[in-house]
Each structure stands twice: as structure tokens, then as C-alpha cells.
């Protein structure tokens, strides 16, 4: 008996975990580049929201076909990963189906349910793939989906099918070896799906089937470790981030926009006659920047949102501006934010922990003003997101920068705002005429 496979397994497994941990740290660092925002209040309400929306998938089913398919893959993923525990223990200890003797007949139930879910996942993934590539749903065809996003989406589906196929092949060959009473393959598990695959091995030698079983077993675990590390480069990060994202998502009424504290301070000063407008601000006080022109001006919640986005496009398909052919796509706002954040993160990595200005920013280089000015702030995108992402808040923050730092609102809006300033109404009417309607009764 040699320890070589155990050692190879341990090296592969811990390297896989270590690379993943390194990338998780990077994500956390990048999210922390955002400005602070308190989202730790009302924790019981937040837990409930997370359980309902992320764990319970409550918003997925508003679109029943995609919703049901997604729940199959989601439940399948969670359930089949229980098997991963056994695979890891087997790999490290050199055992085979280590849990079987302890769980007795319940082990059969477990393996059987894994198999059924594996098959269901393959079926669901097939439908997902057709929806993306054959049915050509409009929301998968927007311009921001060209290139990597489309490849990424399909790669995820292919990887899932490969993993499930390896899992079933592993079981099928195991089952074949069990029935041939080969040493080390004691009867364990129930194989409602793979028993139909195992006859394919009839006529092969025991040694070949053992080789198939071992190959499938190794490729399966290597595939999982690969997939784990693929997440960082993919929209598929949502399988983890959906949970914190729904926990930290907004719990106030959707219509409520934040009131900028930095503005409140200045407005109070302006409205306070005894205050000296020429007084020097306290030394330690940094001059506040109003609104956002780059990712560092956004809050950490908005940056977490960006990493969490699965690019499903429900937001964009509900967006009135997008539906009527405007440039705005809320999904693109999220994708641009993540791309820029990644770019800033890489800049920090290459410059030894310091961001060196690269002459680029989120505004204009990624998100155009035309997109920002197309928004009606109707909250359809926020409502549509199955995992609590808020593209509207980013749009508003960027409008704030455009108006308060750049004075570059569309001229119609400047007129409206000067009317409010001068007459207290968005139209040029005298405030003294506010009650004229009373005489028309």
C-alpha cells in the first residue's frame, strides 16, 4: 500500500483551497475600497431576508421556467456537495466510500438522491443551454453579453455537465465493480441512475473498469477544485456572494434614496445665518467629493453588488429605458462596476498595494452619461433582481457627481433646477400663484 495517491490528493486539495482563499482575500480587499455604509442594523430582519431570498430562492420563481430550472440546479448543487465530504475524506485517508459502514441504509438513500439530482441537473442545464443558444432570449443577447460574458455563461454549463457526468461514471463503474465483488469495492450505495450506465462496461476487464472508476473519481474532484477557482473569474461567484448580498441588501422602502451627510453639513451651514461662511474648515476634515465618478466613490455594498451580479439580465429586461431602445442597461452598470473594480484591484496588485492613477474612471470610460440620464428611477431593476442588487443607487451616485462636481446636467434639467431654486417649483410659476386653483372650484 502506497501513500502516493493520498499525498497527491492532499497537495491538489490544499493548493486548490489556498488559491481560492487568496482570491477571496482579494475580493474582500477590493470591496473594502468602497466607502463605508452601515448595513449592520436590524440583523433579524436581514437574516430573514437572506433566508427567504437567497436560501429560499423566493424571487427566482417570479419567472417560473427559469426559476424552477434554477432551483433544480441549486438544490442539486447543495445536495451533491454532501458527497464531496466523503470524497475528501476518502482522498486524504485512502479509504473508499468511508461513510457507508456508518450510515447503513441511509447511505443508500443519500447516494440515490445524489444520482437523481445529478440527472436532473444535466436535464436542467440542457434547457439552460438551449435558452441561451437556441431560443435566443432577448436578455441574453444585449451588447454587454458579447464576448467573455457569453463564453463564461456557457462554460459554467459545460463544466456542470462534465462534473455530473464524471460523478455518474464514477458511480456506474463502482457499481459494476461491486457486483463483480472486486476487492475494495464492497457493496455500498444505491444507484438508480448509474445502474443503467454500468452495463456499458460489460466485456471490459476488471482492471480497465477500475481504471475508469479511478479516473472518473480523480477528474471529478480535480474538476470541482478547478470550478471553485474558476468562480473568481466568473459571474458564477453569486453561488457564494448571493448570501452576504441579500443579508446586506437595502431593507428600507425602495423609493428612499440616501441623504448625503456631507451635503447636510454644508446646507445647514448655509441656512444658519450666524455661521461664518468664510471660516476655514477644521484641519483634519477632508473636502468631501459629492457623488461617484469611480468605484472608490461607491459604497462597499455597491461593490459587493457588482461582484454578486450573475448577469441574468432580469433587471435589463424590466428596465423601461432599455425596453424602448435607450442605451441604459442596469446589468451593464453592474458589469462595468465589477470590471473597473477588477482593473483598480490589479493596479493595486502591480503597484505594491497602492493605487496609481491610470487616467481612467468608471464614469465615461465605462459608463456613459447617456446611459445615466436615461434612467427613470422606477426601481424595476431593483425589484427584478433575484439577489438584491441595486443598480439604481449607482446611477444616482454618478448623477450626483455629474451635477454637483461637474455641473453637467442636460440643459432641460438645469432649467428645471433653476426654477426650483427661484420659484420653488420645477416650472417658471410664481409661488404666489400656488393657490390659484382655489378660485376655479
Amino acid at each position: 500500500m502506497t501513500l502516493v495517491p493520498n499525498i497527491i490528493f492532499a497537495i491538489l486539495f490544499f493548493t486548490g483551497i489556498a488559491i481560492f482563499a487568496k482570491n477571496v482575500k482579494k475580493i474582500i480587499r477590493n470591496i473594502r475600497l468602497g466607502i463605508s455604509e452601515n448595513r449592520s442594523d436590524q440583523s433579524s430582519l436581514r437574516w430573514k431576508q437572506m433566508i427567504r431570498v437567497a436560501l429560499g430562492q423566493s424571487k427566482m420563481v417570479t419567472r417560473p421556467i427559469a426559476g424552477v430550472l434554477h432551483i433544480i440546479v441549486y438544490v442539486g448543487f447543495v445536495i451533491i456537495n454532501i458527497e464531496l465530504l466523503e470524497i475528501i475524506v476518502d482522498g486524504l485517508l485512502g479509504t473508499h466510500r468511508v461513510f457507508a459502514p456508518y450510515l447503513g441504509s441511509f447511505y443508500n438513500v443519500l447516494i440515490a438522491s445524489f444520482e437523481i439530482f445529478a440527472l436532473l441537473v444535466i436535464v436542467a442545464v440542457f434547457f439552460f443551454w438551449t435558452r441561451r443558444n437556441m431560443v435566443k432570449l432577448k436578455r441574453f443577447l444585449n451588447s454587454e453579453m458579447k464576448g467573455w460574458p457569453k463564453t463564461d455563461a456557457n462554460l459554467i454549463l459545460y463544466i456542470e455537465v462534465i462534473l455530473m457526468t464524471l460523478f455518474l461514471t464514477m458511480n456506474a463503474s463502482d457499481f459494476w465493480l461491486q457486483t463483480k465483488e472486486v476487492a475494495n469495492y464492497s457493496l455500498a450505495g444505491s444507484f438508480p441512475v448509474s445502474q443503467f450506465i454500468s452495463p456499458l462496461f460489460d466485456g471490459l476487464s476488471v482492471a480497465s473498469v477500475v481504471a475508469i472508476e479511478r479516473t472518473a473519481w480523480w477528474l471529478h474532484i480535480v474538476g470541482i477544485l478547478f470550478f471553485l477557482n474558476y468562480l473568481y473569474y466568473s459571474k458564477h461567484l453569486h453561488i457564494i456572494l448571493a448570501f452576504p448580498n441579500t443579508y446586506f441588501a437595502n431593507i428600507q422602502p425602495k423609493g428612499q434614496l440616501s441623504n448625503l451627510d456631507s451635503v447636510t453639513t454644508e446646507v445647514k451651514l448655509m441656512m444658519d445665518p450666524p455661521a461664518d461662511p468664510y471660516a476655514n474648515p477644521p484641519e483634519d476634515q477632508e473636502v468631501a467629493k459629492f457623488g461617484a465618478s469611480d468605484v472608490m466613490d461607491l459604497s462597499w455594498v455597491q461593490l459587493l453588488n457588482a461582484y454578486t451580479c450573475t448577469e441574468c439580465g432580469r433587471c435589463t429586461s424590466e428596465c423601461p429605458a432599455n425596453q424602448t431602445g435607450k442605451l441604459l442597461s442596469p446589468r451593464k452598470i453592474m458589469m462595468d462596476t465589477r470590471d473597473r473594480l477588477e482593473e483598480v484591484g490589479k493596479n493595486i496588485d502591480t503597484n505594491k498595494g497602492c493605487f496609481v492613477p491610470d487616467g481612467k474612471q468608471l464614469l465615461n470610460d465605462y459608463i456613459s452619461q447617456e446611459e445615466l440620464w436615461a434612467c427613470t428611477s422606477c426601481n424595476a431593476c431593483v425589484e427584478a433582481c433575484p439577489i438584491g442588487i441595486d443598480p439604481l443607487s449607482i446611477i444616482v451616485d454618478m448623477r450626483r457627481y455629474l451635477v454637483m462636481e461637474q455641473s453637467s446636467a442636460p440643459s432641460d434639467l438645469n432649467n428645471m433646477m433653476s426654477n426650483i431654486e427661484n420659484n420653488g417649483a420645477p416650472w417658471p410659476f410664481s409661488p404666489m400663484d400656488r393657490l390659484n386653483w382655489k378660485n376655479e372650484l
Partner: protein
């Protein structure tokens, strides 16, 4: 109207030592826009009929700052808000009703952290309350059996989760309520929100209000009901664009209630 309805300002009322049950926040559209003024007038007629003691701010009312805030001008918004809060707190206002969902949302959600804490209700919620308290009776009248589709204002619906109050009132009119394919949580915006009302739309292949009007017309309604003066404008324009003015009316829920009562 045979009977003169008095519209006291809060200043006048307080001078007389009286305190109204509720402050009616008319809003800029309700004060100045010819179409929206009709909604204002319909609403005060109902208030009068139900013997609600109310007052308005008149010249002391100023824009809540909603369109400025949603354009990104947080300065202007907070200046407006603080000036309004000074007036409202000066009069110790506790309860506000408004027929504009934008004013409603801003007063209710965005004023508290600036020091303005009031109970704010939308006029459809207020009217529903009057019905429940038995102070207002609504029967179908001329709208009995009419096909009415309700266009959810974003700032009442998604923004503040109120979908039922306007529908309850329409139900009382014994109308046949037909829902558009996008309604309630999935309601399509009329195109006016986020200060779009005050600017030309960005480049596209259709105006949003036309898209929404088409959704409404699919249901072949006699009336498109709204609960927002801006939605009303957008839908009215949409109906004109489709040359359907003769067969489809765009009316606020308050106007429907007032007309059903022959006010």
C-alpha cells in the same frame, strides 16, 4: 358647485386657533399644471364632502426637491427639504396627505433623517381610510361595469409597496378592473420619473409612455386610472398620440371617486 368649499391655509387656520385633521400637500403639479389641478379640485371636493378638516400651505409650500434629488442635485434637494421642514415643524404638522406619489415618497422617506417626521399618506390611502371609517360612501354610479385599468405609479407601488389602496377604491366603483400585462411589482414606468418629466428622453426607438399606453390599450379599457399627476400627463399624451381620446379617458382615482359621487 352650489356650496362654496373653503380652502384655508394652515396659517389662517392656526390664526383662528384651529388645527386641521390633515395637511393637504398639493404639490407643484397639483398647484400649477392645468390637468393636475383638476385632480386637486376633485380631491378637495371629496374631503369637503366627507367633512374632513384640512388645510393647505398655499404660498408657503415649495417643491419637495424630488426632481432635484433624482437629477443628482442633492444640495438643492436638501435646501428645499430643510426649508419645507422648517415650515412644517413650525406649524407642528403631524399628518400629511398628498395626491402626488413623488411628494409622498420624499416627505415620507427622505425628510425624516433631515428632521421632518410626519405621518404621510397618499390620497388613495387616505380615501380608503375614509371609506373604512364610514365617512365616505362610494358607489358605482356612472362607472359601474366600465373597464378600468390601473397604472401603478412607481413611487407608490414599487417604491412604497402600496398596490391595493387605489384598487380598493376602483373596486368600490363596481368597475371591471382589468390588469395590464405589467402591473403591481412589475408595473412599467410611465417614463416621467427620475426627473425625465423635465427633459427630452435619451435616444431610443420609442417613448416609454407610448410603450405603456400600448400595454394599457391591449386591455381595451374605457378608462386608464392613475394615482400620480405625472403618470396622468404621460398617459394622456400617449392616448393622444394613439388618437384614442374619444374612447379612452385617463383619470386620477380621486377624479373617478368624485365623479361617481357627482361632485
Amino acid at each position: 358647485m352650489s356650496q362654496q368649499i373653503s380652502i384655508p391655509t394652515l396659517a389662517e387656520m392656526i390664526q383662528e386657533g384651529k388645527k386641521p385633521e390633515v395637511l393637504f400637500w398639493v404639490g407643484c403639479a397639483g398647484s400649477f399644471d392645468d390637468r393636475a389641478k383638476k385632480i386637486t379640485k376633485a380631491f378637495v371636493k371629496i374631503l369637503h364632502q366627507a367633512s374632513v378638516s384640512f388645510a393647505v400651505l398655499g404660498a408657503e409650500e415649495s417643491c419637495t426637491g424630488d426632481p432635484a434629488k433624482r437629477s443628482g442635485n442633492e444640495f438643492l434637494f436638501q435646501m428645499q427639504a430643510m426649508a419645507n421642514i422648517e415650515v412644517l415643524n413650525g406649524y407642528e404638522v403631524q399628518r400629511i396627505v398628498t395626491a402626488c406619489p413623488h411628494c409622498f415618497n420624499t416627505l415620507k422617506n427622505e425628510y425624516p433623517s433631515l428632521g421632518g417626521n410626519y405621518e404621510v399618506v397618499h390620497h388613495t390611502q387616505f380615501l380608503k381610510g375614509l371609506l373604512e371609517d364610514g365617512r365616505l360612501k362610494v358607489e358605482g354610479g356612472q362607472f359601474k361595469g366600465k373597464r378600468i385599468t390601473f397604472h401603478d405609479p412607481c413611487y407608490l407601488g414599487r417604491a412604497n409597496n402600496e398596490y391595493e389602496a387605489p384598487r380598493n377604491l376602483l373596486h368600490k366603483l363596481e368597475a371591471e378592473i382589468v390588469e395590464m400585462k405589467n402591473c403591481k411589482q412589475k408595473g412599467l414606468c410611465c417614463g416621467a420619473g427620475g426627473a425625465q418629466m423635465f427633459k427630452e428622453p435619451e435616444k431610443g426607438n420609442k417613448d416609454i409612455n407610448i410603450e405603456r399606453t400600448e400595454q394599457a390599450l391591449e386591455k381595451q379599457p374605457n378608462i386608464i386610472a392613475t394615482g400620480c399627476p405625472f403618470c396622468n400627463t404621460m398617459m394622456t399624451d400617449g392616448i393622444k398620440n394613439k388618437e384614442k381620446e374619444a374612447s379612452v379617458q385617463v383619470m386620477d382615482v380621486a377624479e373617478l371617486v368624485a365623479q361617481a359621487k357627482d361632485l
